[in-house]
């Protein structure tokens, strides 16, 4: 008992302060702050004015109705993909494959959006067409991640390796489809992109004149559903138990193989949803380069959000705001948008290597490290 107490002691700080200091939100918040400070120094060193830059960023992200709308537009795929990665983490799995699952979700949704009415030879009512396109995208993502899930469950093949490999296959397959069979046939088109999806497959904007669409609301609802699934259902309990200790889960009668496959399948479903919503809600087509990096940013968002659905939403909004505000910042101060990537990378660095943050701000380490995924052998 005393041995354990040692690790959580904070010396002379009182009990209230201690529990505050140990609250899980401090590290992410201080990581953001520190990254902004370091980013400011970088801006200053390159001859810019960090205060003007951040003012521009803030204005661009939140300064107007349009800015807010664009922030939500950016945040939408981040929320879905962040939830995908976070859900896998909860089950003790590291889904690096969100990028590929997302791309396949987008391609599938686009095909259903532009080609299905012709294939069937009928026009499809909007609600049904949207559902089919989005559902198809989800299914594509699900299948693509269930494969590494099954490989993990039945052969022990590590999901990190396999999802990376599946990414290569998915991204090259997408590239082939967009340059070949699915390429927009209109004579003026030279870009690797699909034709526009039918009107009936488009998710409408929430407010006329602004780009923010109902997909953003859906993202919030899905975040709630993910939370509900994890903490309010027996399946979520199984996922969390397998994530916490697969041996104990097996001993308690849980089929660990089934849960690994299901967790990966759900994770891929959410990633596929991210791609499908981008197509049906925003771009109305899929184009090579539209979704580059969402799946990887999602890892950062899941980590920054401490793998909790609410944390993921907040982290996704932050990343969305920064991406969105960056353009305004560049316009106002001529500081390149790439600075934002630097800051985002720093945030991730500080969250992942939280010892740095704990050292700078003198926060004591938690009683035990939270293990996100198991080692290569597990």
């Amino acid at each position: 008992m005393p041995d354990r107490a040692e690790k959580t002691s904070t010396g002379h700080i009182g009990g209230v302060l201690r529990s505050l200091a140990e609250s899980p939100i401090w590290v992410p918040l201080l990581a953001i702050l520190t990254a902004m400070i370091v980013g400011g120094i970088v801006i200053a060193l390159t001859g810019g004015n960090p205060f003007a830059a951040y003012a521009g960023l803030l204005q661009g992200a939140l300064g107007s109705k349009k800015a807010l709308s664009e922030t939500a537009v950016w945040a939408t795929p981040y929320i879905f993909a962040g939830l995908a990665v976070a859900l896998a983490f909860k089950g003790g799995l590291f889904n690096i494959g969100a990028e590929g699952q997302l791309a396949l979700g987008a391609v599938t949704a686009a095909w259903i959006g532009y080609a299905l009415p012709d294939v069937l030879g009928v026009s499809i009512p909007p609600v049904i067409h949207i559902s089919l396109a989005v559902g198809g995208g989800m299914l594509a993502g699900l299948i693509w991640s269930a494969i590494p899930g099954a490989l993990k469950a039945y052969t022990g093949g590590h999901e990190v390796i396999n999802t990376i490999m599946m990414n290569y296959i998915a991204l090259n397959m997408t590239s082939y489809l967009l340059n070949g069979p699915m390429k927009d046939p209109s004579p003026t088109n030279v870009i690797a992109r699909t034709p526009q999806i039918a009107e009936s497959a488009r998710i409408p904007p929430i407010f006329p004149g602004l780009r923010v669409h109902w997909g953003f609301v859906l993202a919030l609802v899905v975040a709630f559903i993910t939370w509900w699934l994890l903490w309010k259902t027996t399946l979520g309990f199984e996922i969390r138990t397998v994530g916490a200790n697969p041996d104990a889960a097996r001993y308690a009668g849980i089929s660990v193989k089934r849960i690994i496959i299901l967790t990966m399948a759900f994770s891929g479903l959410l990633a596929g949803l991210a791609g499908a919503i981008e197509v049906t809600g925003l771009n109305y087509r899929h184009e090579l380069g539209f979704s580059i990096g969402y799946g990887f940013d999602a890892i950062a968002i899941a980590l920054l959000g401490k793998t909790h659905p609410l944390g993921v939403v907040l982290a996704a909004l932050l990343f969305g705001a920064m991406r969105n505000g960056a353009t305004r910042m560049q316009f106002l101060t001529q500081i390149p948008v790439d600075v934002i990537s630097v800051i985002q990378a720093l945030i991730l660095l500080f969250v992942a290597a939280d010892a740095i943050i704990r050292y700078i701000y003198r926060i004591k380490a938690p009683a035990e490290r939270v293990v996100l995924t198991r080692g290569w052998g597990g």
Partner: protein
Amino acid sequence: MDASQSSAASPRISAEPPLVVEMRGIVKRFPGVLANDHVDFELRRGEIHALLGENGAGKSTLMNILSGLYRPDAGTIRVKGQAVSFSSPRDAIRAGIGMVHQHFMLVPSQTVTENILLGLDEPRFRLRLSEYDRVVADLSERFGLKVDPRAKVWQLSVGEQQRVEILKMLYRGADILIMDEPTAVLAPQEIEELFRTLRSMIREGKSVIFISHKLQEVMEIADRITVLRRGRVTAAGLNAKQTTRQELARMMVGREVIFRLDKKPREAGEVVLQVEDLYAENDKGLPALRGVSLIVRSGEIVGLAGVAGNGQRELAQVITGLRKCTAGRVLLHGEVVSNRSPRFSIQRGMAHIPEDRAAVGTAPNLSVTDNVIMKRYRQPPIARRGMLDMAEATRFAERLKEAYEIMVPSVETPVRLLSGGNLQRVILAREISGRPAMLVAVQPTRGLDVGAIEGIQRLLLEQRQAGAAVLLISEELEELLSLSDRLYVIYEGRIMGEVRIPDKGASEDLVEKIGLMMTGTPLEQIEGKGATRE
């Protein structure tokens, strides 16, 4: 010259070896706990001094202070007459103090020699391993610590790994060795070897502090004994030969421990578990069970005795569905449950207290609530149509916390923060609260302190009284003899024989028989010999 002078100057003192460690008035506070409350401790040269106390009594804290891991809030430490103040284990080892922790700190993929050299300044750049292999071999020979310097650590048994840890400390020049519960992980014959090593070390003039909560061991190995209870010394430097187990137990827990359990006579009922000619392999694919047959009836505790690693683990796993058998079968109430799934057995009334509490029995990062519902989260009232009623789960956990006296501030506490005894109570609460027909208990009291052991044993007897069939797999013969109605002995995957334990306790003759079976002599042979002699 010097030595003869000093002994001439004080001839009386040579009978009483000099103090090598003197700790005075050590105080160590942790938030909410006074772990060491003005503790005095002294160690003489060439003695084995046992530090006895329940879990949480402050033994490890005191020794962590001595080995430089913690700094005391107050008090002084003198080592070989010099006042010292350690700020790291490195300082302590420089003063000749080395601690072998309960959990080994070895690199599995490296050789014994590499592990011993790890972190040292010598060798500097070129690893002349073969030279150092010889040094390590010499050292291990000198102290009877048999281990191959070139073997990789993962190839070694737990006992051998412990020897590597000891060698590490000896190589670093430790002459005061702190052993933190060294026997907890060892098989009986390895314990004997360890004791021989410790004795050979004190003959070489080294001194040993032996942390333990096992009375029997302490009586066997220690020259002197210091008892701690709740951070205070209740007995300082008792001579081991002038004390009794009862006296030590009283000082340790503050009350008389009842060693005779209250076991009521009870007729066994119908057969619950039948194991028929069971064969199974271990993790390495080698035969672990070679034709095991046994039965357990309701209302009886059946013991399975044997030296560690003779197939007990595999047998428990096959019975509970965690391992496949290659031949034979397991029947629960006449229904085949072997080679199905853990859930299949659980649903038919199988409960299991696994050997490894933290790695298998619980999910350490999950709460007490999550852990106690782990086998019933699919059933109403906790779950309805796939949805969890966490309020109901919390109420259930609160009830178990009361009924099984789980000492924890809140049922939302992650179980990794619980002590060993409390963790075992969480597991028992989960397993027993389902009123199982069959309970397989593997080493249920291993590593627990006296008070906790008693509580766990009582719970097992209550299960017997309530009509459950209990298979108790243990390496503690004393525990088996005091709890079991019948006893099987397993050796190399075969049952050597079955004996009935009389209600009044086992006779010496019976214990001898069991001992012979544990070392590989089948019962028929033992009794056959007896018959021919008559």
